[in-house]
Symmetry: C2
Subunit: 247 residues, 2 copies
DNA sequence: CGATTGTTTGAGGAATATCAATATGTGTGG
DNA sequence: CCACACATATTGATATTCCTCAAACAATCG
């Protein structure tokens, strides 16, 4: 067995611990296939806040999964400005967007200290040719990852600032639920400036909207931790300012 | 030879006429592979304005290429509102976003009478397993198609209304250049309401900005046809209101 | 603790949505 | 070909949202 491969016992533990469950790659594969895949995944490695996991333009050598902590991805757009693409929490996969041409399209940065799983791409790529179901699953994940982000960014584009914040909070909360975590509290690991960049508004406006949400007792904020007190109300706010397209 | 396959002579003509050239699938494949692929493509079929080529949720049975005319794609988002995802002109591929899970994620509608090429998915899928380069090329196209749209929508999110319109015009013009067409004029086949939906602003604002661009003699509008008189100026406007992220 | 970085709050102004009215274009049947 | 109805686009006046600038406040880190 090559040195990069680990024993199946270690691996089973690694991936079950990884809470990725149905969101991660194994979904839809046979038992044997999953085991072969799991042997590719390195144990979660620590990453320090501010560290870049990969940089836009880097050759894609691996796919990553957030084990603990939080990450952001960002792109430098045509005008040379940074645009934050998304925020990633435990269970989320990173680097899928670069699988097409094997180059990372964005930069991934740690928002706080955490741990990251690494799935070497060349080994995965070989396995893809051997296991028919894996290619499907990868493409499924790829298109889902992209369309989820896209969907969020799209709807944000037509909302008021209140709607944007509420939508983001609802989205983060829903993603927690999908991982069998409690809907609340949500941890906003990113700085206000990151939020502002992502949501396309100013940090001052972020502050004001969050204050308004607190005054209405829809959320409660303690440092980075946001407790959702009234989920239905938050959802109602998330529709706010979503212009109905005329005709 | 199955009835659905056509003779290579017909096919060569079909794809060379199709102006997809380097943008279409054949790019990067060997001559033999290209010929095998071309046998899958049906001749361009007419489509009437307003017709839906495929609908969100439909099983993916084919990939499409715009031969003539123009198309839009749209999604119904979580709040039940229509969100226009993009506009497609001759040479553009449609349906790539659904390749992951073989379900169309958006609805494609003809903006004017035109012609569409159809590439049956099941046959393409078989070919993918046989021709190694094709899978790469498809994933490349897939991720590019997605990231191009995403990029545009993203940058739009942080721009003023003037910046948004200018950016869209520049983008449409650049896409014409990529197909060896003249940069100008650009045909805005879609209604103002579609533009407004896509750009996240109101139709009245669209009107006003277009008027301002005309008054500055940067563009000239005749019906749906927009002539770009001063490309550098338009590019300058496209950066307008692109907030510099603080910090 | 200072120094630095990040966040909140306030006052004023610019951009853009909204509402209402008019104009232009497009298709249909006489 | 014209006249009408209907859809689409433009224009104007007003209201609102959100950004800008400026300052105070809180947190973090050496």
């Amino acid at each position: 067995m090559p040195a990069t491969f680990r024993h199946l016992d270690d691996v089973q533990q690694a991936c079950s611990h990884c809470s990725l469950a149905h969101l991660c790659l194994p979904y839809g594969l046979g038992i044997g296939d999953v085991k072969r895949l799991e042997t590719l995944v390195d144990a979660a490695k620590p990453i320090a806040r501010g560290t870049e996991l990969f940089v836009q333009g880097d050759k894609l050598t691996a796919i990553y999964a957030v084990d603990s902590g939080a990450m952001k991805t960002s792109m430098i757009d045509a005008e040379g400005l940074e645009q934050i693409m998304g925020f990633y929490y435990p269970g989320d996969l990173l680097g899928l967007d670069g699988m097409g041409d094997e180059v990372h399209h964005c930069t991934a940065t740690a928002l706080e200290d955490g741990h990251i799983c690494r799935i070497p791409f060349d080994q995965l790529d070989h396995l893809v040719d051997e296991v028919p179901g894996l290619r499907r699953q990868l493409m499924r994940l790829m298109s889902h990852a992209l369309s989820d982000d896209e969907q969020l960014l799209l709807t944000l584009g037509r909302k008021s600032s209140e709607g944007r914040i509420a939508t983001l909070l609802v989205s983060l909360s829903r993603r927690r639920l999908m991982r069998n975590l409690s809907a609340s509290p949500v941890r906003l690991s990113m700085k206000r400036a990151d939020l502002a960049n992502f949501l396309g508004m100013r940090i001052e406006t972020i502050s004001r909207v969050l204050r308004r949400l607190q005054e209405c007792e829809i959320i409660a904020i303690d440092r980075a931790v946001v407790s959702i007190l009234d989920f239905p109300a938050l959802e109602a706010w998330s529709a706010r300012g979503a212009w109905v397209a005329d005709q």
